[in-house]
Symmetry: C2
Subunit: 316 residues, 2 copies
C-alpha cells in the first residue's frame, strides 16, 4: 500500500495531525500503537480548551472519529521499523510494510519505572502505572503513590474515591502540581499521608505486592504494608525511530525539530511528547497544536517533493 | 483593582490562557474586546481537534464558561493603554484602570481593507468583512468575494446557501485554500464565477453599493453590477500595545516572543495571532495552545517575581 503520509501514534498529537492531513486530502494512514496514548488513560481532562471536563478516552475517540470523517485510515498495531528508501519511507508493522512519502512520529513517551527488583514481576499484581485503569481495584484498600508531579496528585484525587488510605511517597522536598489539583488533594485531609524526601528502596512480595521498604522511617518503621502501588514518575521519549532514521535528538532524548516540526531528515516530522517544543510543558492542547503544525509541514513537503518520490513515478 | 494576570483579548488564545491561569489560581481578569475574536464570526469550525464541526461562537462561549468555572473574571470593553509602572503594569480601559503583575496580549490581528475611496462609507451598505454575519442578507442576490485564501473559499461555500451568484475576485494566479474547502467550492459549478488575476479598482455607489470597477474586463466590461461585496484579504497584527510597551516586533509587525511566549519586556507575554510562532499557520488550535503556554510562563514569572511587584508590598 502507498500513502502520502503515515502517522505513527494515536494520542492527541497523532490524531490532530491526521485530522489536518485528511483535510489537506493527503492519503493518510495512522498506526495506533496504544490507542489514545497517555490521554486515554489520564482520567477526566479539565484543561483542554473547549471541554469543561471530558474523559480522556472520550476526547481521543472524538478526535479519531473526526479524522475518519475526512478519510484517514486507521489500523491498530505497533510500528517495528521506519526505513528510508530513496525519497520515500517504508514503515514496517508486524508482517506487513507500507510505502509513504512522509511520516509524522507522534509516539509520545514511555512511562518511567523505578527499576527495582520485583517491580516487573509484580506489575499487575499490586504494582501499577495507570491509576485510571487499575485504581478502582483498590476499593477500601491501602495504596501508595510514588510521584510528586501534577499527574501523581491527579492520581491521588482519583484514587481517593476508592482506597481508604493513600501514602504519597515523594522523593523531593515539595510537590510540584497544578494549584487547583493540589488544593483538591489538601482537602482530603488525613485520607492522604504525604512522605516527603522519601524513596522506595525495595518492593517486597511473593505472589503479590506485600510491603515497601522506604529510604527513611515512617512512624518508626522503614517497612510499609500496602495493597497497591501506583508509580507516576514521568516519562522518557521513545528513541527507537530516532535511532533507525538518524534523527537528531536533544540532551534529554527528545527529537529535535524546527518551528514547523520538521526533523533533520526531509519527509520525517515529529509532534507531541516525542518532541520538547515547549520545554517541559506537555499538554493535550499543545500536543494537538503541534500535530496540526506537523501535518501542515508534511503537506507542504508533499506538494514540493511528492513527485520526486519513487512511488509516484508509477502514477501516469 | 489588582490582579496577578490581565489577559487582553477573548479569542482562542486569550480564553485558553484564562483557563490555564484560573487553574494556576492566578487572580485573572480578561478584557474581551470583540468577544470570541476571529473565531466567533468564522462560521462552522471543522478542524478544531475534538469537535467534528462546531459553530465558532459556540466554541468561544464554551471556552469562556470553562475559564469562568475556574474563577476568571471577565469584562467587555477595549483596552486603551498598557503602561509599565515599576515591576507592575497598569491597564487602562475607558475611565478605569487596573493593576497587574503580568499581562498576556492576545489581541489577534485586524482585518485588511482594500483602502479604496467609498469603502468606508459603504461599509454595512453593501460592503462587508464578515460573511457569517452579513451573508444571510443576500438571499437570491448577486455578491462578490475579494480574496484568494482559505477563508475566502470558506466564505463562498457559506454564501452559496444564500446568494444566487458569486463572483470570486482573486488578485493572484491561483487560489490558495485547504483542498477540502476548495473541492466543496468546485462542486458549486457556475454558481461561482472565478476571476483570477483581477483586482477591484473602484467601489461605486451612492446610498449603497452599486458596481465595482475591475482591473481587467470580465465579459468585455470592467464594470460589474453586484448587491454585496465581501472583503476577505487577510489580517495585520495590532501593534498598539507593542508600541506603548516597547515590545520587539518582527518585519511583519508581529510581536516577537521566545518559545514560552515571553516578550522582551519581563511580565508581558503574547499569544495567538498577535505573534507569528508557527510562521503563517494561524489556527484556533495553535492559538489555544499558545495561550496555555503564555499562561504557564506568566504563572512562572509570578511565582518568581510576584512579590517584587509594588502591589504585593501591601500584602503582609
Amino acid at each position: 500500500m502507498e500513502y502520502d503520509l503515515i502517522v505513527v501514534g494515536s494520542g492527541a498529537a497523532g490524531l490532530s495531525a491526521a485530522i489536518y492531513a485528511g483535510r489537506y486530502k493527503l492519503r493518510t494512514f495512522l498506526i495506533e500503537g496504544e490507542f489514545g496514548g497517555e490521554t486515554a488513560t489520564a482520567g477526566t481532562i479539565w484543561n483542554y480548551p473547549g471541554f469543561n471536563g471530558i474523559d480522556g478516552y472520550e476526547l481521543m475517540r472524538k478526535m479519531k472519529e473526526q479524522a475518519q470523517s475526512v478519510g484517514v485510515e486507521f489500523r491498530d498495531g505497533w510500528v517495528k521499523e521506519i526505513r528510508k528508501e530513496g525519497e520515500c519511507f517504508r514503515v514496517l508493522i508486524e508482517e506487513r510494510s507500507f510505502h509513504t512519502n512522509t511520516v509524522i512520529i507522534a509516539t509520545g513517551s514511555r512511562r518511567r519505572h523505578l527499576n527495582l527488583p520485583n517491580e516487573k514481576e509484580l506489575t499487575g499484581k499490586g504494582v501499577h502505572y495507570c491509576w485510571t485503569c487499575d485504581g478502582p481495584l483498590y476499593k477500601d484498600k491501602i495504596v501508595a503513590m510514588v510521584g510528586g508531579g501534577d499527574s501523581s496528585v491527579k492520581g491521588i484525587n482519583f484514587l481517593s474515591a476508592y482506597a481508604k488510605k493513600i501514602y504519597f511517597i515523594v522523593k523531593e522536598k515539595e510537590i510540584g502540581a497544578e494549584p487547583l489539583n493540589l488544593e483538591q488533594m489538601r482537602k482530603l485531609g488525613d485520607h492522604v499521608e504525604i512522605l516527603l524526601e522519601t524513596e522506595v528502596k525495595e518492593i517486597r512480595g511473593k505472589e503479590k505486592l506485600e510491603t515497601l521498604i522506604l529510604s527513611r522511617p515512617y512512624k518508626e518503621s522503614r517497612e510499609l504494608a500496602i495493597d497497591g502501588l501506583f508509580i507516576e514518575i514521568g516519562f522518557d521519549p521513545d528513541q527507537t525511530f530516532a535511532k533507525q532514521l538518524g534523527l537528531e535528538i536533544d540532551s534529554k532524548g527528545y527529537t529535535k525539530t524546527d518551528s514547523m516540526m520538521r526533523t533533520n531528515v526531509p519527509g520525517i516530522f515529529a509532534a507531541g511528547d516525542a518532541t520538547n517544543h515547549f520545554n517541559n510543558f506537555k499538554q493535550d492542547i499543545t500536543a494537538a497544536a503541534l500535530g496540526t503544525v506537523a501535518a501542515t509541514a508534511a503537506y507542504e513537503h508533499y506538494k514540493a517533493n511528492g513527485k520526486a518520490c519513487d512511488l509516484h513515478k508509477k502514477v501516469p
